[in-house]
Subunit: 187 residues, 2 copies
DNA sequence: AATTTCATGTAACCAGTTACATGATTCA
DNA sequence: TGAATCATGTAACTGGTTACATGAAATT
């Protein structure tokens, strides 16, 4: 039970967002629909059930605002358990799986990390992120080279898309480290 | 019915792979598990049902090899309908949705396009790919700039990850166009 | 008065994950 | 002979999609 299975991306996004300030399901939908965080559902059929699950697990807590009015509204905030779970997820070491299958989740973790874990932990994360990405790169480079040598140009070009992606990850992490280091006194 | 709903990524991957040469479920699993195409399931619980569905839709056809032996093997090939569907999917114009949610599928389409549609169509696709990505870029750039101006450095850095990704897409498409143009007589 | 936006939800469906089950074949 | 690999599949569960449903509040 050391590492409680990683949250699904949507749960993570919700936990992170309500950690900033309490939000209703509708607020979440709006956020997903209108901000660049919007590689997410935004569909009620995803969000309301997800909120219900998180509430059942005791990670978020819904308070009904304006219970007296005709149009009451449920606003969700993080519980202590929720914060703990979020922290745990943000601190989870980056594994090969994350690098191959869940890069989006890693970036999402970064996005919430500033507020929840602070600057030093964030810089550590970025370093690990860069290193894991760099670990994976040679595998791809080799495959691309082999394909090229075999004269399978088209296939090599397809693989090189992945290469460019990973290089971009690395570049980003490096630049981000720079930016956040220099910005030490802000925020 | 003009544009039949796009194939799921997994179906597309399977159609593309069996279009190259007939494969068994196990072959597909191996491919997904060992090649850089492997951002895919590779789990039997995904592949065998997917094959069954494709067969029911008449897109692939399974032939039992060695029906006499004790260990018969089902090898799947594309039907005419399957080829037609694959072609249609590969030719589907790139929309905003694809650029935001299904980039992986676009790259997969590229990967199979060389054999199925030929070089000229592929170059056209790459041009469209680059243009759609370029269309999307300014939105992100603006968001990043706004966040920066508001002093929300961390958020701006998070968004800049997306920026780097899209720039990498564009760079790749440009380079790929180059490579494939110069390689005109190969393959 | 009509339309849009706010706001919450459900139900049917679909597809993928994990884990299980089975058994043949090949290799050490 | 025991382990690894070949090979195919199922079942329960999970979570997301689409579409539906409802109705208040605000805007035009």
């Amino acid at each position: 039970m050391q590492s409680p299975k990683p949250e699904s991306v949507l749960s993570l996004a919700i936990l992170g967002l309500v950690s900033q300030h309490p939000r209703s399901g509708y607020d979440l939908r709006k956020t997903f629909a209108t901000t660049p965080m919007g590689h997410f559902s935004s569909s009620p059929g995803a969000i309301y059930p997800a909120l219900k699950r998180l509430e059942e697990r005791g990670l978020v807590e819904g308070k009904t605002e304006g219970a007296d009015t005709l149009k009451p509204k449920r606003v969700f905030g993080l519980t202590d358990d929720g914060l703990e779970t979020l922290r745990a997820e943000l601190r989870r070491p980056i594994g090969r799986d994350d690098v191959i299958w869940h890069v989006e989740a890693l970036v999402l973790r970064f996005a919430f990390m500033g507020d929840v874990l602070g600057r030093p932990a964030t810089l550590e994360f970025l370093g690990a992120f860069r290193d894991r990405m760099a670990d994976y790169l040679p595998t791809l480079e080799q495959t691309a080279q082999e394909l090229k040598d075999e004269g399978r140009t088209h296939a090599a070009v397809a693989v090189s898309h992945g290469l460019e992606q990973y290089r971009a990850h690395i570049r980003w992490a490096t630049a981000a480290t720079q930016t956040l280091s220099q910005d030490a006194d802000r925020e």
